[in-house]
Amino acid sequence: MHNLGYDAAHLLGAVVLLMSFALLYQRRLFALLHVFTLQALALAAVAAWQGYIQNSPHLYVTALLTLGLKAILIPVALRRIIVKLNIHRAIEPALGIGLTMVAGVSLVTLSILLVLPVTEDSAALTREDLALSLGVVLLGLLMMISRRNAVSQVVGFMSIENGLILAAVGVAGMPLVVEMAVAFSVMVAFIIFGIFLFHIRERFDTLDMQKIESFRGESH
């Protein structure tokens, strides 16, 4: 009735989604980075496992890229930015945490309701991977709008990209070039983010978006 390849892929995908929820739940920047690292590790495991069951070696490259960039390089770099800029470590969510979680569950339900009817004639694993990854993408967006701190918005952006990779590895026959392109565009985005964070900090002395908004000259 069940096969291990399907079950394990499914479960690992769910771990990635669960980590997105854990990202929404965190209140401290370092804890946020730890969870982000865990999500990247889960994603690398998904890619490697998919490579194994689909018998396509190039997914191992994706797994290695994810492991190297997302699980090691970006967290370390973000950590250095946090330490160097001496950012206030506690996250102040714009919405309450409970409310954000409720919104998150509704978003995941929405993505399931959306994906399942559309992809009715494709394989079960692809469908569920798509539902899961759409959930991760939406949760990343939710994270970007519900957090005031620029660093946690960057983490939200990176987790959106995790969702995209999750979708890409679930579909059999996705060429490596696409994944490489996505990975490197994210890397470039990350570098730009890093530079921006430094500049914002230098100019406005804060990374809190609500305070920065007052500099736009719109009176509240």
Partner: protein, 315 residues
């Protein structure tokens, strides 16, 4: 045969519960670099409490005196329902997950009433917090029950264990989410560290200890015994639903299989105790105002688990 096994089960949970609590405390103090009391210390504590006289407040009502007995009976009965080493128990037909939750709920109800009975501020504070936790933990627990019941098509614990052992389920997102939820609920219900600190008295953040502050002598022994049984019950429940392997089944028969079931049960408890101790030492106590987030998170995870049942293949 099944009646005999049921009696063995009731004796076994009663005998093992203090040892489990003592073991968790011992592992925790080892992890903290202390020598710690030996694992069998809770037996001595309970024996000492049973010898001591009961001191009652002048305004204590019958409810206050009756609660320890009611609570202990309800939890002991609940612990007897959960299959630990075999699924062939005399009470197995009544071992329904919803009945189990009802038994635990009524025990909590009486304890919360007793907490308010004397009229001390600590008791009322503990009771109100306990009810707040219960209001969030019970729906989460029921959602777990529903997820499992939809998957297995029964709420009978013995049948769930048999079904899980047959291997027809495989790895499932819903079950993983249900497991996480059940662990979070178990932590909250047993007053373990992120929610409550089981080791302290007279702290403003305590929940369980605040309610039982007025108890003494054999009443306190019963209340403490009931909370030890509750810890064992939750571990047995998690083991029964998510890791039933090793349990004796009707197909396997008795004799050596029952003994093997007992050995694996003790091993599961030991593993659970070590994990609990490691978890508790590696995490800090939560502020009371964050309980809602923790348990609300548990509720949402269980809801997500139920949603995923309809996504996964072949429900």
């Amino acid at each position: 045969m099944s009646v005999f096994l049921q009696i063995v089960q009731m004796a076994l949970v009663l005998a093992l519960a203090p040892l489990l609590t003592g073991f968790v405390r011992w592992v925790k103090s080892r992890l903290l670099g202390r020598r710690g009391a030996p694992p069998w210390q809770p037996y001595r504590d309970i024996a000492r409490l049973l010898r001591k006289e009961v001191v009652l407040a002048r305004n204590a009502s019958w409810l206050f005196r009756a609660t320890p007995y009611m609570m202990f009976t309800a939890i002991w009965l609940a612990a007897a329902l959960v299959p630990t080493f075999t699924t062939q128990l005399a009470l197995a037909p009544t071992a329904d997950l919803i009945a189990l939750i009802a038994l635990l709920g009524s025990a909590r109800f009486f304890l919360a009433l007793a907490g308010m009975d004397i009229g001390t501020s600590f008791g009322g504070l503990g009771s109100s917090r306990e009810m707040m936790i219960a209001a969030l933990a019970e729906p989460a627990m029921l959602m777990v029950v529903f997820s499992v019941a939809i998957l297995v098509r029964t709420t009978s614990l013995a049948e769930i264990a048999d079904f899980m052992m047959s291997g027809a389920v495989g790895l499932r997102i819903s079950l993983a989410l249900a497991l996480i939820t059940l662990i979070m609920v178990a932590i909250a219900e047993n007053a373990r560290i992120p929610i409550d600190n089981p080791a302290t008295h007279l702290e403003l953040t305590m929940v369980h200890e605040a309610m039982v502050l007025e108890y003494s002598g054999r009443h306190l022994a019963l209340v403490e015994g009931a909370s030890m049984l509750k810890l064992l019950l939750y571990m047995a429940l998690i083991a029964c639903i998510f890791a039933p392997w090793g349990m004796a089944t009707p197909a396997a028969g008795g004799g050596p299989f029952v003994l093997w079931g007992m050995a694996t049960f003790v091993a599961k408890l030991a593993a659970g105790g070590v994990l609990l101790a490691v978890f508790e030492t590696s995490i800090a106590k939560m502020r009371v105002f964050r309980y809602g987030e923790f348990l609300g998170g548990a509720l949402l995870l269980s809801l997500l688990g139920a949603i995923f049942l309809y996504v996964s293949r072949g429900v």
